[in-house]
Symmetry: C2
Subunit: 453 residues, 2 copies
């Protein structure tokens, strides 16, 4: 087929295993620590909060391939594979010799990649006798996916949504309600953690860190309730590798292999999801692909953070995780990419950054929306503000190709659409948005005293 634009796998070719990069890493990630004892956490300890199977997956550094349960495969087959698309119109607009492909996770149920991990997490909870599941959500993509997945497997869902994004994007709360979930703005007065945060700062806009604290607390004190996380942790990223494993087969259909793989970066699951399956060929087969994680300039943990043991949440309820971090007390600016407003990077990615297997790049807010609008007008899909960061990084690389006269193949993950984020686009078009940055002093202040990793 001349100029084929779209590559889709036959149902029988959808991957039936997730890829666990921990098995292939020469330097394994440092273990999460019990904050009290500073000893490595066991799977059993983790399973007080998470599903037991997720806790096992979290610490698995041995098994390269993890079976996807048939009940999950059945749900995956319902919407997967997602299309791999060649962005001809964007290439043309950029006048670049680069070949640009994107994996379109925006056509998933609920409009983002999040469903890929929500389904297995709820499935394992159900299998293990859990009745209720709780979580945090930033922009609402994860909360929406979890609300639906909970309904699929017959669980009740309670979601803590970051207060500022709840106000910026009210439609996502409505979506969660449509699926029958209970939604609370965080920080709230419904938990001890929330009360403590509001006591110190009654106008706290919330962050993923505050919402995680509240959800973890709810899971801890509620019988039959487990906590499900939408990113950061290794088992979440594991589930997302279905994206890259599909993309690998689809790039083969297109007769190409990526020189550069790009994704936006909040906690790391959508990045790892598309990147790790390709990175295994860098590790094992001498490939030389470049991996770029696009983070907001206002929340630059990859490019300017420090490597420390830090809490995953604001209140300090989670295990200590070895991560590139801006400090768990860091309050990110109110950028519209709510899913990227998180202080730390997952443990796997943090180790890979140390080992120079990948690198971050930081994108100012205005550049991200500018990229998103160009993408919309050329490719017809309005991207989520988070995904706009990946597009901006892609455009930078494509322009570099034009300047250097190089024909590189670039693959990026379109993690979600932005139809629920239209107020953000409105504000950008009206000239009401701005760039944010943070000072070195603020980073030092927020990270001093953290436990050395």
């Amino acid at each position: 087929m001349k100029n084929q634009k779209k590559f889709i796998l036959e149902e029988s070719r959808i991957p039936t295993h997730w890829y666990n990069i921990q098995a292939d890493m020469k330097n394994k990630p440092l273990p999460p620590l019990n904050p009290e004892t500073k000893q490595p956490m066991t799977a059993e300890e983790l399973s007080r909060v998470f599903a037991a199977e997720c806790s096992r997956q979290e610490l698995d550094t041995q098994n390269r391939w993890i079976d996807i349960p048939e009940e999950v495969m059945e749900k995956y087959r319902y919407y997967r594979s997602t299309p791999l698309v060649r962005a001809y119109a964007l290439e043309k607009a950029l006048d670049t010799p680069a070949h640009i492909y994107f994996k379109n996770e925006s056509v998933n149920p609920l409009g983002s990649h999040k469903i890929n991990s929500a389904l297995p997490q709820c499935y394992y909870c159900k299998q293990e006798g859990t009745t209720n599941v709780t979580t945090e959500t930033g922009a609402g993509q994860w909360g929406a996916a979890l609300s639906y997945a909970a309904k699929v497997f017959g669980l009740e869902a309670a979601v803590y949504q970051v207060k500022i994004t709840m106000q910026q994007k009210p439609y996502r709360s409505s979506i969660m309600r449509t699926f029958g979930a209970a939604v609370t703005g965080s920080p709230s007065m419904s938990t001890r953690a929330g009360k403590n945060i509001l006591t110190l700062d009654p106008t706290h806009p919330g962050s993923l860190g505050t919402a995680i604290s509240e959800a973890v607390e709810l899971a801890t004190i509620t019988p039959g309730c487990k906590y499900a996380l939408g990113s950061v942790l290794s088992h979440v990223t594991l589930h997302q590798t279905i994206i890259g494993l599909e993309a690998e087969k689809q790039m083969e259909m297109a007769g190409e292999y990526p020189d550069i793989v790009i994704a936006c970066f909040g906690g790391g699951s959508n990045f790892g999801g598309i990147a790790f399956p390709f990175m295994r060929h860098n590790i094992n087969d001498g490939r030389n692909t470049e991996f770029i994680a696009a983070e907001p300039a206002s929340c630059p943990k990859l490019t300017r953070g420090v490597f420390r043991y830090d809490f995953g949440d604001e209140a300090g309820y989670t295990p200590l995780l070895p991560m590139f971090t801006l400090g768990h007390g860091f309050k990110p600016a109110n950028i519209h990419a709510g899913g990227l407003r998180y202080h730390g990077a997952g443990t796997i990615v943090s180790q890979l950054i140390k080992d120079k297997m990948m690198h971050g790049t930081d994108i100012p807010q205005l550049e991200s929306f500018d990229a998103g609008i160009l993408f919309a007008r050329t490719e017809g899909i309005i991207p989520a503000p988070e995904s706009c960061h990946a597009i901006a990084a892609t455009i930078r690389e494509a322009k570099k190709c034009r300047e250097e006269g190089k024909r590189k193949t670039i693959l990026f993950n379109l993690s979600g659409h932005g139809l629920i984020d239209m107020p953000s686009y409105d504000r950008y078009i009206d000239g009401d948005l701005q760039n944010y940055t943070i000072s070195d002093e603020e980073i030092i202040r927020n990270t001093e005293g953290l436990y050395k990793a």
Copy 2:
């Protein structure tokens, strides 16, 4: 593949022709009339407002297959085929022996089937030297699609959006603005038609009829500007037959043939799009499929309207069309399915109703949302309020199958998703919505004096 859920055509199998049912109809639709002379309109007369090629297609009762231009095919291939999905989870929830399939047009760029006609209409305009295009939009699905298609082919777009839906669903105006279109709420003071309407009723909420009047007026007085319509007319329905032609091949992949085909009904293009390719086998090959058009009980032109020559718009600017109508002055209740708030049915469908080749069914607003929420919770896609009507009709048929112990195969068109319509779902969940109906007297009052067809 056991229990295959999703059927997608290889790119090489995407249809390259549209199907023109007018060529196969035993009783051709009556011609549109010039309102002054009451003489049949010629293609040349129509092309004062519409693209010349669209005007030719409108009156073509001879050619069964119309070539899709290669430039349009190239854009179609970018997102088509859309998936045909077996709704196992919905079947299970209904405990029905029926097999339910839906064609998922919600994954298209801009989230609905509308792009299928927006692309060729803008392409023809561009080919014919037009620089500007204008249109009306109800819920905003058509306006969004046209704004993008205009951008694709380098035209400027001006959209009149029904005022009440603009208020109910502000995000769709934002989408159109993101694509660079000028958006005006209708009725407005920017046209003579709008001024006249507002003079009589300053609080007029707008309707597709008022917005069409304004757009047609703008096209008439602006050099280089053509008008593009999103439904009702025969050439629009022609473009939408890509849906049914794909579905025919996909049902074959599934090893089934539909006993019933269902779509929601506003002007008729999404209905005709999925139904006509199957209806040709009723006409030509002795098939016996039942075709059901699901309209809102508050706007029941198919089930309770009269067959007359009527204007397509409120101000009386369009040709006289032979249609089942509630009268062009009819003000539909403010239901949330904005795309179904239209007084008349297209000329082809009106003839087919007369010839008993299909029938309408009317769905109260509350039943439509109830169906939509069941569909969301089972299939993971929040449907547009318009599409909820098709789902409600499907559920009625599936329940009938259960009661009668019959295993029928039902195919419906999921014309779009409802992510932009969350305020409507909010109001439904909060119990703030109601059913609307109209009295026989109101219908008689609105249709008396119309020209007999």
